[in-house]
C-alpha cells in the first residue's frame, strides 16, 4: 500500500532527471525525499502526482497502477513551494475549490472548509485574499486546500522553502503533528537534511537522479551506504580512506594507540560544545566537536599539539 515507484526514468532533453528510480513509501508514513538541487527529487514527486510523465517505469498508489492517469484521477493532494494560490479567489474559495469541482452540496462544503480552516489555524481569514496573507498563512491554506478532498496521498514540494527560518521550523513541527493526527501517507521533498531528520519516519536520499539510500534517519546517520550519504546527513572528516564524524573523535594530550598528530588552529565556542579546528602535518584539516568540559580539561589553546584518535569510523 502507500506509494510504490518502480524503475522510473525521466529525461529533459539531454538532462537525465531520474534514472531507474524505485521507491517504497509505507502507507501512513511521513517520508522525506532528500537531496541537493538537481537530484531529481522534485521531478520524482511530480511524476508521482501525474504532473510529469515518466519515460519508463510505473507509479502505484494504494495498490493501483496509476501511471497512465492524469493528476485529476490519482487522489493526490499537492502542496507547491510557491503556494500556487488562486489569486482571484478568497481563502474560503481556495480551500473549497476541490469540493466545488466535484459538485458537493454547499452546506457540506461549508462544514468541511470551516473544519479545515480550524485545523490549519486560519479561522477568521476565510474572506481574505492570498495577497493579504503572510507566506506561512498562504502555505497553511495550500495544505488545507489539498486536504479538503481527502487525498489518499499527500505530496509536498519544498513546502517551506520560500519561508524564513523561524516560520520554517514552526511549520514543519506543525506538519508532523498534523500527520500524527491524520495518518495520511505523506511524501515531502526537501534539500534541508535537518528538516528531513526532524520530521520524517523514513528518508529517501537522492543524488543525480538516483536513490543513494532509503531508511530511517538513524540508519542514514549511523549506517550510511556511501561517502555521499555520510557527507550529506552530517559533517564528516576524512583521514585517508576512513570517514569520521566530528563527535566520534577523541583528543589526547599524549599519543596512545592508533592516533594522528595535529595542531589546534582555532577554537569555536558553540555554547555547551566546542568545535576544535585542527590541521595535520600534511596540511589536511580536521573538525572535531567535544563538550565544553572536555575542552576545559584538556586546556586547549591555539597552536597546541594534540593527538587525534577516531572512536568510530567508516570505510567505503
Amino acid at each position: 500500500m502507500g506509494i510504490a515507484v518502480r524503475d522510473v526514468s525521466k529525461r529533459f532533453g539531454k538532462f537525465t532527471a531520474l534514472e531507474a528510480v524505485s521507491v517504497d513509501v509505507p502507507s501512513g508514513s511521513l517520508t522525506a525525499l532528500l537531496g541537493p538541487s538537481g537530484s531529481g527529487k522534485s521531478t520524482l514527486l511530480r511524476v508521482i502526482a501525474g504532473l510529469e510523465r515518466p519515460d519508463t517505469g510505473e507509479v502505484i498508489l494504494d495498490g493501483e497502477n496509476v501511471t497512465g492517469r492524469p493528476p485529476q484521477r490519482r487522489g493526490v493532494g499537492f502542496v507547491f513551494q510557491h503556494y500556487a494560490a488562486f489569486r482571484h479567489m478568497t481563502v474560503y474559495e481556495n480551500v473549497a475549490f476541490g469540493l466545488r469541482v466535484r459538485r458537493h452540496p454547499r452546506r457540506e462544503i461549508r462544514e468541511r472548509v470551516e473544519e479545515l480552516l480550524h485545523l490549519v489555524q486560519l479561522e477568521g481569514l476565510a474572506k481574505r485574499y492570498p495577497a493579504q496573507l503572510s507566506g506561512g498563512q498562504r502555505q497553511r491554506m495550500g495544505l488545507a486546500r489539498a486536504l479538503a478532498v481527502d487525498p489518499s496521498v499527500l505530496l509536498l514540494d519544498e513546502p517551506f522553502g520560500a519561508l524564513d527560518a523561524r516560520v520554517r521550523k514552526e511549520l514543519r513541527r506543525w506538519l508532523r503533528r498534523l500527520h500524527d493526527e491524520t495518518h495520511t501517507t505523506t511524501l515531502i521533498v526537501t534539500h534541508d537534511q535537518e528538516e528531513a531528520m526532524d520530521v520524517a519516519d523514513q528518508i529517501v536520499l537522492m543524488n543525480h537522479g538516483r536513490v543513494e539510500q532509503a531508511g530511517g534517519p538513524r540508519d542514514l546517520y549511523e549506517e550510511p551506504a556511501n561517502e555521499f550519504v555520510m557527507g550529506f546527513v552530517g559533517p564528516v572528516n576524512r583521514i585517508g580512506e576512513a570517514f569520521i564524524r566530528p563527535h566520534d573523535v577523541e583528543l589526547l594530550l599524549e599519543p596512545a594507540g592508533d592516533c594522528q598528530e595535529a595542531m589546534v588552529e582555532r577554537l569555536v565556542h558553540l555554547g555547551f560544545e566546542v568545535r576544535v579546528e585542527l590541521v595535520r602535518g600534511d596540511g589536511e584539516q580536521l573538525s572535531v566537536q567535544i563538550s565544553r568540559d572536555e575542552a576545559e580539561r584538556l586546556e586547549l589553546e591555539r597552536g597546541q599539539i594534540v593527538y587525534v584518535r577516531p572512536l568510530r569510523q567508516r570505510v567505503f
Binding site: F12, G13, G50, L51, E52, R53, R69, P70, P71, R73
Partner: protein
C-alpha cells in the same frame, strides 16, 4: 485521451493538465491564415503576375516615386520628433508630479482610441482654413507631418514609460555619489538604458507613419507631387482601376513594414542582452 504535442527540451507537462492543445493551435493558425496570410499572399502574387517588367515601372513612375519619397521623409521627421518629444513626455509622466497627471496619462492614448479620419478633422479645425488662431496649413506638407505626429504620439511614450518606471534609481544615486552631475547622469546612466525602448517606439512610430491614411487624406489635399503620400497614392490608383500599380507600391510598403518588424524584434533582443 488525446496525446499532446510532444515536448522538445523544455520540461514536459503531463497531458492531464493540458489535454489536447492541438485543437487550439489548429484554430489559431487557421484563423490567422484565412484572415491575414491568404489576402497578403494574393497581393504579393498578383503584384508579381505581370512579371518584373510591369512591377518595376509601376513603382518607378514619377508620381509613385514622389509619393514614396514624401512618405519616407515625413516618417523619418516624425520618428525623430517623437524620439525627443515622446521621451520628454514619458519623463514628465514618470518622474514629475502635478495635479491632473492621471488625466494627462490617459489622454496619451487618445490617438489610439480616436478614428484617424476624425484626428485629421480635428487638426483641420484648429489649423485649417477656418482656424481661429489664423494658422492655415491645410494642403501643405507641414499638415502631413502634423497629422502623423498626432497618430504616432503614443508609441514612444508608451514604450519608454515602463522602462523609466522600472529603472533602478540606485544606479543614479551611485553615479551621484561618484561625482556625476545631473546631465552626466542622464547621458551615461539613464539614456543608455532607455535607448532600446526609444528605438522600439521609434520603429513602431515609423511603421505607423509610413502606412497612415485616414488622418492624412483630408488634411493634405492629396495634390500629386506635392502632398500625396504613398497610401493615398495607392488608394487613388485603386480608384482609377490601376490595380497593378497600386499592388506594386503596396508590396513595397509591405516589405518596409516587414523589415521594421524584424528590426523591432532585433532591438528587443539587443535590449535584453544585459538582463540578469
Amino acid at each position: 485521451m488525446a496525446e499532446p504535442v510532444a515536448a522538445a527540451g523544455a520540461p514536459a507537462r503531463s497531458r492531464g493538465v493540458r489535454g489536447s492543445p492541438t485543437l487550439g493551435i489548429g484554430v489559431a493558425t487557421g484563423y490567422l491564415s484565412l484572415i491575414v496570410l491568404l489576402p497578403l499572399a494574393a497581393l504579393i502574387w498578383q503584384s508579381g503576375k505581370g512579371g518584373s517588367h510591369s512591377f518595376w515601372p509601376a513603382i518607378s513612375s514619377p508620381e509613385a516615386v514622389s509619393a514614396i519619397e514624401l512618405t519616407l521623409v515625413a516618417s523619418v521627421v516624425v520618428a525623430a520628433v517623437n524620439a525627443v518629444a515622446g521621451t520628454a513626455i514619458a519623463w514628465v509622466l514618470v518622474r514629475d508630479r502635478f495635479p491632473g497627471k492621471g488625466i494627462v496619462n490617459a489622454v496619451i492614448d487618445l490617438p489610439f482610441a480616436l478614428p484617424t479620419v476624425v484626428a485629421g478633422l480635428t487638426l483641420l479645425a484648429l489649423y485649417g482654413s477656418q482656424s481661429p488662431i489664423g494658422i492655415n496649413i491645410a494642403f501643405t506638407r507641414t499638415a502631413i507631418v502634423l497629422a502623423l505626429l498626432f497618430v504616432t504620439l503614443p508609441f514612444v511614450v508608451r514604450t519608454v514609460q515602463p522602462v523609466l518606471k522600472e529603472l533602478d534609481r540606485e544606479m543614479e544615486d551611485a553615479a551621484a555619489s561618484l561625482g556625476a552631475h545631473k546631465l552626466s547622469i542622464f547621458r551615461r546612466i539613464i539614456f543608455p538604458n532607455l535607448l532600446p525602448a526609444i528605438l522600439s517606439g521609434v520603429a513602431l512610430a515609423f511603421a505607423r507613419a509610413v502606412g497612415e491614411f485616414g488622418s492624412v487624406v483630408l488634411i493634405s489635399g492629396n495634390l500629386p507631387f506635392k502632398t500625396q503620400v504613398a497610401s493615398v497614392f495607392v488608394f487613388s490608383q485603386i480608384e482609377s482601376d490601376d490595380i497593378r500599380g497600386a499592388a506594386a507600391v503596396s508590396v513595397l510598403l509591405l516589405v518596409i513594414s516587414f523589415v521594421i518588424l524584424l528590426m523591432i524584434g532585433a532591438v528587443r533582443r539587443w535590449a535584453t542582452r544585459h538582463d540578469v
